[in-house]
Symmetry: C5
Subunit: 301 residues, 5 copies
């Protein structure tokens, strides 16, 4: 995933990638239409012309910004926590692979430990996206193990159980010094932590009531707004209304999107890509295990 | 708990599940009634017509939004911390079960350790909701132990004491290598941490004075508001007032609800469901212990 | 400390417990009086009638709300951190007691370790409130040790030194396996952390300059406010002014109160109650040590 | 990097170093030009003179400030997290060097471990800036190792693999007590954590949609603003508009800059300087290893 | 450092200690003078009388408050983090001293370890304030060691190297059980963490660009403000302007002050006092080491 610099400020005004405009087009159009009606109605006598002033919209708008700002922060924090937890998965599968090579005195065992780490990453991704992991696990687990793993509620947790059992066998076979084992157990514990925490994010949404309160207030506000503006803004009412409504609708839609960080939106976390990266790195370590560790080359300096 | 996508934006405007409308209906109605009176009074001579302008309401409203935003953040943080701590319970009971199978060389001991972990989860839930845990503990503890456990202030802590004692016996019986014991002690320490921290959340509410100050200000504000609006908004006073009051009343009610995360509201954390999930997972590990660990099946690749 | 549900919304408007009204009554009264004068002065010719508009108060009020919001968050964070640290004390004295019973193979030693943990909790409370700990330590330490402990700057730290020495003796007497000792040392380290951090909170207040700047701005603002409102609000000036001033004065007073979490206000943390709870729990463990560990009763299931 | 005190407040008004003015000059100029046109147009009849009031700009501007404030916080948090992670690199390479000298009983081995730590710091910097590390690694690794290291996706991770292997050899050669090895493994784990987390920051930008929404709103706002001000501000419209637009444009530009903390802007983190500092410190430790540890000189006191 | 209660609310209005008034007196005076001129100019014909309205100042002021609020939070967080890190220094030097007495079976060695801990605290303080540590180190290190320590970039880190070497000698001399060594290494690691993190705070200021943008906006705002107020506020313009400018200038000056927490301002952290406290406590432990550990006195109860 190469770094993407921000585009030039002018081209960014018309960026399409990542825009939420399609999702909020209908709401914006309704607001525009309401603005047209309010503009026309302001030329009619009462009761068509409600004739009120923008004052209440002013301070309601600011309050709304504060509440929406809170909602946005909370949604962004969920997204960023999810990304951090996947960072932990990357880091600890690397650690486990590195330590399997340096602390376990059996290349075949190290190979199997690395293979199980890859299987864990696949299983975790499918668990979070609620898709079928059978195909992805096939190269790394025996069919009987796959059946056992997929039978439980959290398949990646079952893969960690296999990892743990593999380490126990290594201990009994004398392939690893018992005083070094807790370090590797700690890596498994970290993966367990990342898994449990991602499940928390995936299956415990923000209190739905927040979404409802803010959703309602945003929509009521934007629909009532043109009537407040029509008298002072006149013919520009539809344009100004739509313009004021844009950041409210857009930020609310974005908050809904990123508060489910493992979903399918363009702003969700790229789990497939991350799992592929983990697999590529660990396959490299596996090749080292297969080759036997190369002798260390000393640098002269 | 399957993932629940957000409903369509239009249906969300009329969502009933999770709405706080019933709880704030009376306040909204009073505000509406006050709006009707203010609208009528604005056509009378002084002193019925107080005749002041919306200016002070504007900036008071914004200040109120800032303070309410703070209150909301603090309440949400309590809720989310509670959920994270229960995530720790899920993660560490899993870890304890996994390690009981892989580090303790006695299936019968592993079985008992797993059973005590299940008992802990039940005891912790009943402790936080202040209900009677006897029924839930019956399948996992001997009657004498149940009596002893329920006699102390924090029964789940007593269950951890039993877990610790079981581990000490395993050590004395040579079923676990002493250098591996600290890893499992650490899991018990994590459960102890989650328990103590949840007790803190359950029994130390936010300073009550915050709630009082903001509650009073919100109510005074919403009741005085129509008199500020009547002159400029006219016949629409009741509607506009109610509309402005809605997010204030609703967010305050929601903050009261989620700041007690182990309560009984619809937005509280689903402890029963979480404990049932823990029990289901650990029963699976227990079945493995009963069967003896199956031989590891090697994958060809 | 049983859970306290929020009172009914109507009764909460008139709650007395926890209200800061008594503390800010004088300021509110002065504001009211200033409002009366401004109302009267607005009917006089210049220079009595300063005749300016509410505009500057509007945006100054909002700025003030932002700054006061910051102050409030920082004060609340101090209070909540203090509560979390005392949670750590609860958790780690429990852990120490539990591990003394399960890891140390000498009931008499376990009893003394538990007794020292109780002494630590008492000493820490008296240290933070700067009161005399002699009475509270008497049942748990020999008179000579009490003299030594009270002679140093931080008596609870000296109690931890005694705990550490007791563990060292247990190690030399072969009552505890050296590989298990680091786990218990870690508990002492956690108590040391909680103690040092609470001392930080107790003896390093927020920069006093913050308090001064915001205190001054709040008071200047509220005293000048009626002159800005008198022309548009008229006879209601005193009431409206007091109403606008209430949340500012109240939140500032509350921030002052909870930013010293070990103080004597009603919103401070209930240290006495917490220490009594710790003592009650640890006395229970001590009774277990005295009785010798009861034989484990196996559950049939 | 000596500490830089803030310049005098008057000179700071005209500071050039670190200013974003060059980056936003064009936008400010366009805003100024738009202001000139709006000022002129306000003297023409409709439709040239759109004639609307500043009211909607008022509350839209405040909302925008809230959203931009959120964006700024998130960008600053990324920058500060990146700096903290590089702090971890400094701290843990120091630790590793110190422990290589005190825990490994072979000066030659300690020397190689320190050399690999330096190589890690160089490799990590080049990884994050996506530049070629070959030159920087040449003094510390054998050519064959350099080829192997540069062949994988994350070269610094491969250097950690070499470190781990070196430690494993030390263990097999009996140069380090196995019970002390986990402490050094933990340092490598911390470096792994810093590396993985920095990769996360470098290659996962903030959701692009945030940038787009706020960028658009800022630009639309600043371009429309003069038409709202022209009637009340008159001839000063261009100046006032530019002045109001300045903090919005500047803070948005700064947020774009520091949200990529490893970039090339003046506000980015000075990686080159930090790596040079690490190398200087570790070379000093290496010299100690070469000299053999000097005998400890006892202080009399 | 005894606890300082807040002064009475009335005396606090005129507090001098900790006030930033002297630092911002000139800016306030200039604002006052500008206010006088604007008041006078508003009675002249155009072009002296610019005659614009306060509207743009209203919303610009609120935006400014949001941005300044962000700046303040970031500066306060730096200050508080610095204080927390020094808390870690207090806690971990205590731990190291306590463990030197209880885990190392040689009073002379324990004495030297404690002396080095004191030297570390002195060296760290002088490192952060960039002053000469020679005098402070003299009682604790041999002259040759002082020269070596002061020759490197970070002298306190070199003191930690001496501590680590002393522990290694204790291990080789059999004075400490190797399984207990990692606990003490961990304390050194914590001191290393506090040192590296404090260096980060001291030598990496907030992005200077933030300071520049907000500094400029605050000053432009306050200087232009009187022209916006003159028409509506009249003769009170100078007073009102100065009053509105006060919190902006004051909070900006305070943020500049506390964002450098190891500086020399009255609000900086009292490093001298903290180091003196550490020395006093550790000297007490040293006296215990000299006396040999007193026999433990058993309490009867």
């Amino acid at each position: 995933m190469p770094r993407q610099p921000h585009p030039h400020w002018f081209r960014m005004l018309f960026a399409v990638r990542g825009s939420v405009l399609p999702r909020i087009a209908l709401q914006l159009f309704l607001t525009f239409a309401m603005g047209c009606w309010a503009m026309y109605a302001s030329t009619l006598p009462w009761p068509w012309n409600l004739g009120y002033t923008p004052a209440p919209f002013g301070f309601l708008g600011v309050s709304l910004a504060v509440f929406l700002g809170f909602r946005n922060s909370a949604a962004y924090d969920r997204w960023w926590e999810a990304r951090k937890l996947w960072g932990l998965v990357v880091i600890n599968t690397r650690s486990l692979g590195r330590e399997a090579l340096s602390l376990v005195d059996s290349p075949a065992r190290a190979r199997r430990l690395i293979g199980l780490s890859i299987a864990f990453a696949h299983a975790m991704r499918h668990r979070l996206q609620e898709t079928d992991a059978r195909m992805a696990l096939a190269p790394w687990l025996a069919p009987a193990d796959i059946d056992a793993v997929l039978a439980v509620r959290s398949p990646p947790q079952a893969v960690l159980g296999l990892l743990s059992r593999e380490l126990a066998e290594a201990r009994r076979a004398g392939e690893v010094n018992p005083v070094l084992l807790p370090a590797m157990e700690e890596r498994i514990g970290q993966l367990e932590f990342a898994l449990g925490s991602c499940e928390r994010l995936a299956f415990t949404p923000m209190p739905f009531t927040y979404a409802v309160i803010i959703h309602r207030t945003v929509h009521l506000y934007c629909i009532a707004l043109p009537f407040g503006l029509a008298q002072t803004v006149g013919l520009l009412t539809p344009v100004v209304t739509t313009f004021v409504a844009y950041p409210f609708f857009a930020l609310e839609a974005l908050a809904q999107e990123i508060e489910d960080p493992f979903g399918e939106s363009i702003n969700a976390i790229g789990l497939e890509e991350m799992v592929a990266g983990i697999e590529r790195e660990l396959r490299g370590l596996m090749a080292q295990a297969d080759a036997g560790q190369p002798p260390i080359v000393r640098v002269a300096g």
